[in-house]
């Protein structure tokens, strides 16, 4: 008889070294439809941890999923949130990324003890994570409910996105993929795209690896970076408006959330010209043609991702060409985002289930059936879309101050005289009913520092925050002013300011 060359123990040890690359195969009794699915989560026994700087991206999910815990670095709720765990002893240190914060939390004894105290087979979700996060989770026996770093990298890659879109027959901004060693090279490969070009390299935030090139001097400024980057995505520069939607790739099809507007670059909210500073969800946000076009592209792209083995949450940016009305796929983010609490707390999410629950279903290996087409149809019906907006408020001045006062997280009311009053503590925005009320999530607290670009907090309210001309409306400006009035700071001397800046988290927390 042939001797087994690989023992069970050896195979188990080997498999422990590699993170799981695919969502678990379905097991257990089958869930039939949404009622079963909701009940499954209300009775969930395995602890699920959302580990991040704050719980902003998945606000409210703890009320849908039993045994769902937030492990955060910043205490937005002053100890009042029943399901948030913050390590008590965390001496201040500078972080360079969200991954850095997550790895710090997973290395902290109080967090490790908290996770172990919940028992069961722990699972974790993150906004962003890397190989070190995967290692730390492996050591703690935590299953990460997201595709591996390798799979996400493939989807996140700006150039790879276009290849996936091509296979899925999803239109992108007219482009060519090529290398360019010189300005002449660039012009030669991009002849059909016209004079004004946008050149992107594979990775990095759009602001840092996107180059606008119309003349040779533009090329000369960035020549070395572009030539060294290898393969480029060279696009026709178009006049466009951005929008975003979130989707979930499941074995039964791709579930699509509503298309949201983006607030970008408002000086009252952000010091960064192209900086994202909010979203709106409302029925008339886009005409039916644009909505449908984006929805169909999302389904096709999602189905191609499914074919590649991807499962779960994904965010897609769409760009509407203002000159010809075409809708193109922009960036794809294989993760939850700063718009996720908009998608997950909407009325349709409340009537069916938040989109994120379907992500968990896939990654927890649950056996379920679901009519995705019917769900998508309901979620696409304007009758089912209630109007909500969020503002991401950053500190826009360029001086540094010590924070001495800050508004608390919870429900606020905007008074007729333009002031705002704290109503009560709340952990999400779902119960806010009127446009003169809002849910505020405080990020910067007393003891922190004001500095240019610091995230002060997020304000969420029913109704719109932009006019039909995509300008900030009066209600938004009143709210910003009213909430900012509850912040106060003390001047500090230049040496202390310099030291404070060393300690402050670099680049702010990337909430999107």
């Amino acid at each position: 008889m042939k001797k087994k060359t690989v023992t069970k123990k050896h195979a188990a040890r080997r498999s422990r070294k590699q993170p799981r690359t695919k969502a678990r195969s379905p097991r257990g009794p089958k869930l039939h439809g949404l009622s079963d699915i909701r009940r499954f989560f209300h009775r969930n026994t395995d602890p699920i941890f959302f580990i991040s700087a704050t719980n902003f991206n998945l606000l409210g999910i703890d009320e849908w999923v039993r045994n769902f815990w937030y492990i955060n670095y910043i205490d937005c709720f002053d100890g009042q949130h029943p399901n948030v765990f913050i390590p008590r002893e965390a001496p201040h240190r500078p972080f360079t990324s969200i991954e850095d914060i997550n790895n710090y939390l997973l290395s902290h004894k109080e967090v490790i003890d908290f996770i172990k105290s919940k028992g069961g087979k722990p699972k974790a979700v993150f906004l962003m994570f890397d190989e070190e996060t995967e290692r730390l989770c492996r050591e703690l026996g935590i299953e990460i409910c997201f595709p591996t770093a390798a799979m996400r990298t493939e989807v996140d890659d700006k150039i790879s996105t276009n290849r996936i879109a091509q296979r899925a027959d999803v239109p992108c901004v007219p482009y060519v993929l090529a290398k360019a060693e010189s300005y002449q090279d660039l012009r030669r490969v991009s002849k059909r795209l016209g004079n004004d070009l946008v050149v992107q390299t594979a990775f990095g935030d759009s602001g840092h690896t996107t180059f606008f090139i119309s003349k040779e001097r533009d090329w000369k400024k960035y020549e070395e970076e572009i030539v060294n980057a290898g393969e480029l995505k060279i696009m026709k520069r178009i006049r466009c408006r951005g929008s975003a939607l979130e989707a979930c790739v499941t074995k039964h099809g791709t579930i699509v959330g509503p298309l949201m507007t983006e607030l970008v670059g408002f000086k009252e909210l952000t010091p960064y010209r192209g900086g994202w500073c909010g979203n709106e969800v409302f029925a008339g946000a886009f005409d039916k043609r644009i909505r449908e076009s984006a929805r169909q592209s999302a389904v096709k792209f999602g189905n191609e991702l499914r074919r590649m083995g991807y499962r779960g949450y994904v965010e897609l940016d769409f760009l509407t060409d203002l000159d010809n009305g075409k809708v193109y796929l922009g960036e794809v983010n294989p993760r939850i985002t700063g718009a996720s609490s908009m998608t997950n707390l909407a009325a349709f999410a409340h009537a069916d289930a938040p989109l994120f629950l379907f992500h968990l279903l896939e990654w927890m290996g649950v056996n379920y059936e679901l009519d995705v087409d019917a769900l998508n149809s309901r979620w696409a019906d304007p009758e089912n879309i209630d109007t909500w907006s969020q503002l991401v408020i950053k500190f826009t001045d360029d001086h540094v101050q010590h924070v001495t006062a800050a508004p608390r997280s919870g429900i606020w009311e905007l008074n007729r005289d333009g002031t705002a009053t704290y109503v009560r503590m709340q952990t999400h925005r779902r119960t806010v009913q009127y446009e003169n009320r809002a849910f505020f999530l405080r990020i910067t607290a007393p003891g922190d520092y004001f500095y240019e670009g610091a995230d002060l907090g997020i304000l969420v309210s029913p109704g719109r925050f932009m006019t039909s001309n995509h300008r900030l409306n009066q209600r938004a400006k009143k709210w910003i002013s009213a909430i900012r009035a509850h912040y106060a700071g003390a001047d500090i001397n230049p040496a202390a300011a310099a030291q404070a800046m060393e300690q402050v988290e670099v680049g702010g927390f990337k909430l999107s």
Binding site: P91, R93, P94, L106, S107, H108, K109, E110, E139
Partner: protein, 332 residues
């Protein structure tokens, strides 16, 4: 290592403590020392020290036998993150001390040493433990680390700073000496540990066992250990690359003096111990950080230690450990 500074004169209260469990006596001592430990640990900032997960992982990798004691000790003193990281002694905040140590084999093998440091940074704790079936009696550092000590398998150890400013990846040496006393019964076994476990700064470690085997091992994070048959160690390694430190601590003079003493066939253990109480071995440089705080003489064959100061001494052993306490004054 750290305690709140004494009110007016430099003094250390030396205590001989028998730990009956893991941390029954140690936990209140840790609470007393914690303010000082914490300040030292965070002196370069929290981010300069490794995380709990990394510290425990590296401890498990290099000294797995210590892990159960470590986990229990950490919970007993409060279970906090900073406490746990500090007690792992992995990549600790750098610190300097200065010492002399020598082995004499005429009669009962004895390892004699002076520990030279700042009074306010000395725990003054002679700790008797019985962890994992092994009895150890040692002068402690960072609660469960060892500056010098002996075990019931007949092995004695002592450390002295190696006089080189290099700092690298590795453990604080007191924890490695604890590991050696917990797991080794001979000089040969101890040498293997010193060749395997990384240590974060430069030290000269003298080992003596009941059979009369001895070695001095020079360790440093930037080069492989040098194993010598020298019965003596002070505060330099080879020609040294910190000549100013060697000069101000008279390291080479002390080494030469000790080599002459132990080479003399007429030198008795009593005479050798006495030499440690006088210059050039006894240092009064308390304000500069290397004043002599105690003299210890270990006899691994009988498991005993004699702690000596200019005006008093303690004699005790593994088998008949006596708890006691004395306040000793320095400087003036």
């Amino acid at each position: 290592m750290h305690r709140p500074p004494p009110p007016s004169i430099s003094s250390v209260t030396f205590r001989a403590v028998r730990e009956c469990g893991v941390a029954r006596q140690l936990a209140p001592l840790f609470a007393e020392f914690w303010q000082g430990y914490r300040a030292w640990f965070l002196r370069q900032g929290d981010q300069a020290r490794p995380t709990y997960a990394e510290s425990r992982r590296i401890l498990r990798h290099h000294m797995p036998e210590l892990l159960p004691i470590y986990d229990e000790l950490v919970e007993a003193v409060g279970g906090g993150d900073v406490q746990a990281r500090m007690l792992s002694l992995y990549r600790p905040t750098p610190y300097l001390s200065g010492c002399s140590q020598a082995v004499l084999l005429h009669g009962e093998p004895v390892l004699v040493r002076n520990y030279d440091y700042r009074p306010e940074l000395c725990e003054g704790l002679l700790l008797h433990t019985h962890w994992a079936g092994r009895r150890v009696m040692a002068m402690s550092d960072c609660l469960w680390g060892v500056l010098d000590g002996v075990n019931d398998a007949g092995l004695a150890v002592a450390l002295s700073f190696g006089g080189r400013p290099v700092v690298g990846d590795g453990f604080g040496v007191p924890l490695v000496l604890r590991y050696i006393l917990q797991t080794c019964a001979s000089v040969a076994a101890a040498v293997k540990v010193l060749c395997r476990v990384p240590i974060h700064m430069a030290y000269n470690i003298t080992l003596l066992d009941a059979r009369g085997e001895y070695r001095t091992v020079q360790v440093a994070p930037d080069r492989p250990p040098t194993i010598t048959k020298s019965p003596v160690a002070t505060n330099h390694q080879g020609t040294g690359d910190w000549p100013r430190y060697a000069l101000v601590t008279s390291s080479e003079e002390r080494e030469q003096y000790l080599l002459q003493c132990v080479a003399d066939p007429a030198e008795s253990a009593e005479q050798l111990e006495h030499r440690f109480l006088e210059p050039p071995l006894y240092s009064h440089n308390y304000h500069r950080g290397w004043g002599t705080l105690y003299t210890a003489a270990y006899r691994p064959g009988v498991g005993s230690v004699r702690l000596r100061w200019p005006t008093q001494q303690w004699d005790t052993s593994l088998g008949e450990f006596q708890e006691q306490s004395s306040r000793v004054e320095f400087g003036g």
